[in-house]
């Protein structure tokens, strides 16, 4: 559908309060919010806790179902559900990654992954849930194999970034890992042969039309042929690769810069997330949430993107995370902020703004 033909609004559905410090990250539990299953969201904070929020009914309001505390001793920087939704991984400044399982009504810490020298900043599960990646201030990226019995074995420690690594993210369908860093680059990592031999196969740096300051986050579109990255340089960048080549096993199919969205942000962009329908949301240090869509008519130079809407003062302070629920048909977005709150938004056609059809 062409979103730009209609006027949309981002409606605040609910404001979730409970964290006593800035909220760094949120993660929707997979396959919730659809087929009569109430939506579940995890959030993590500078208050050292993780909170689990659940809808009271498939379309009802959210309430805090559990507080995961007394495990991490410092800020919990990011959280993420395994693809099956059975496990939740949390990365902390205390240098550990905790694995939580929902057992008999309680969330129990079933495993603690140690190895990073200091702050762990991000985690990511691969599509099949067999691998977990972590990264941190020690400039390294670790790949862990998920073994039976909640055992995790480190299969590779990847060095290559020259500064702390802000985020790791697996490709949605192929086992290729992406990391972005304070060193302004994005690195692509893949396994060569079957020997658990992971290597950096590409570095997207300033010289390849990349970012000129810290790259904070990245996200893939639904089909996995495009990636969006956001940065302290106030831009979003779109990259693309030949998905047929990737899926046929040629992990070295290169990622190319295809578009830069500049002039839209005036402070650091911390978070970016691509919806199933193709809407890119960004969360920034100017307290605003912005939504972008690809223009229908492609220029000869490749796709171009337009601002669909800007929600000024989405929060009282910096917006650290934006995350679409990709399971539900409703366009539900969660955001997290330095103001200590999480907000649930619904993107809907503006009421009264319906098109006249002749």
């Amino acid at each position: 559908m062409n979103f730009l033909d209609k006027t949309f609004e981002l409606k605040e559905i609910q404001r979730l309060e409970g964290h006593s410090d800035r909220v760094w990250s949120v993660a929707w539990k997979p396959a919730t919010g659809t087929d009569g299953v109430p939506a579940v969201l995890a959030s993590c904070s500078g208050d050292k806790t993780v909170r689990i929020w659940e809808q009271s009914s498939p379309s009802g309001s959210f309430h805090c179902k559990a507080v995961l505390e007394e495990t991490h001793t410092r800020t919990v920087r990011s959280c993420g559900w395994s693809p099956s939704g059975k496990l939740l991984a949390t990365a902390s400044f205390d240098a550990t990654t905790a694995i939580w399982e929902h057992i008999g009504g309680d969330f129990e810490c079933v495993s603690t992954l140690e190895g990073h020298e200091n702050e762990v900043k991000s985690i990511s599960w691969n599509a099949s849930g067999t691998l977990l990646a972590t990264c941190g201030r020690d400039k390294s990226v670790w790949i862990w194999e998920v073994l039976p019995g909640n055992e995790f074995e480190c299969v590779s420690v990847l060095q290559g970034h020259t500064q702390d690594v802000k985020m790791v993210q697996w490709h949605p369908s192929v086992d290729i890992l992406f990391s972005c860093s304070y060193d302004n680059t994005i690195k692509v990592w893949a396994e060569e042969g079957d020997s658990d031999d992971w290597h950096c196969i590409q570095t997207l740096a300033e010289s390849s039309s990349g970012h000129t300051s810290t790259v904070w986050a990245l996200s893939f579109n639904f089909s996995g042929d495009k990636m969006v990255t956001c940065s302290d340089d106030l831009t979003l960048k779109i990259w693309s690769a030949d998905i047929a080549r990737l899926q046929s096993g040629d992990v070295k199919a290169p990622w190319r810069h295809i578009s830069t969205l500049s002039g839209y942000h005036d402070r650091t962009v911390f978070s970016v997330h691509w919806s199933r329908e193709g809407i890119i949301a960004s969360g920034a240090a100017d307290d605003a949430i912005r939504l972008f869509v690809e223009n229908e008519d492609k220029s000869v130079d490749g796709p171009t993107y337009s601002l669909l809407l800007k929600k000024e003062k989405a929060h009282e302070m910096d917006v650290n995370a934006v995350q679409w629920n990709t399971a539900t048909d409703k366009r539900l977005l969660a955001s997290a902020s330095d103001d200590g709150t999480i907000k649930i938004w619904e993107l809907a056609p503006q009421s009264g703004g319906e098109e006249l059809s002749l």
């Binding site: 800020t75 920087r77 400044f93 810290t214 240090a285 302070m317 910096d318």
Partner: protein
Amino acid sequence: MVSELINANPIVYEKKERRVRIPAADVDEYAVEPIDQLEIFDHLRDIKDPEHPYSLEELKVISEDAVEVDDKRSYVRVTFTPTVEHCSMATIIGLCLRVKLMRCLPSRYKVDIRVAPGTHATEAAVNKQLNDKERVAAALENPNLVDIVDECLAPSYES
């Protein structure tokens, strides 16, 4: 803290006289008064240098002119001048400025802290660190660093 001083003989300047605010007679006393340059400078001038018993004002690390403020846009930028070009205390001083403003300004404020252009050997690196809120947050969970910052921010008895 350090065995050898980074700058053993800093030049010490005189403190600026404190101006007393004279409220204009026709001002609505219930109106919200915008935060101005002097108010922010007053918050920062008495911060102590990490290695000398002098204030940042006395060492001319900051001055009133170093503070830019736009109250309408809730924006502040502080530009400080390290005493020497290779001062390894620059990030600590910047961190003290940031923490002080975090504590005394309303949370709506956006604060940028930077080294004065051309006054530090690793200016870009220092600026990048001071404005990376994740690294600042991690630093402020480090008890040793917090002790140093609190020491610098402790009220001095003479003022």
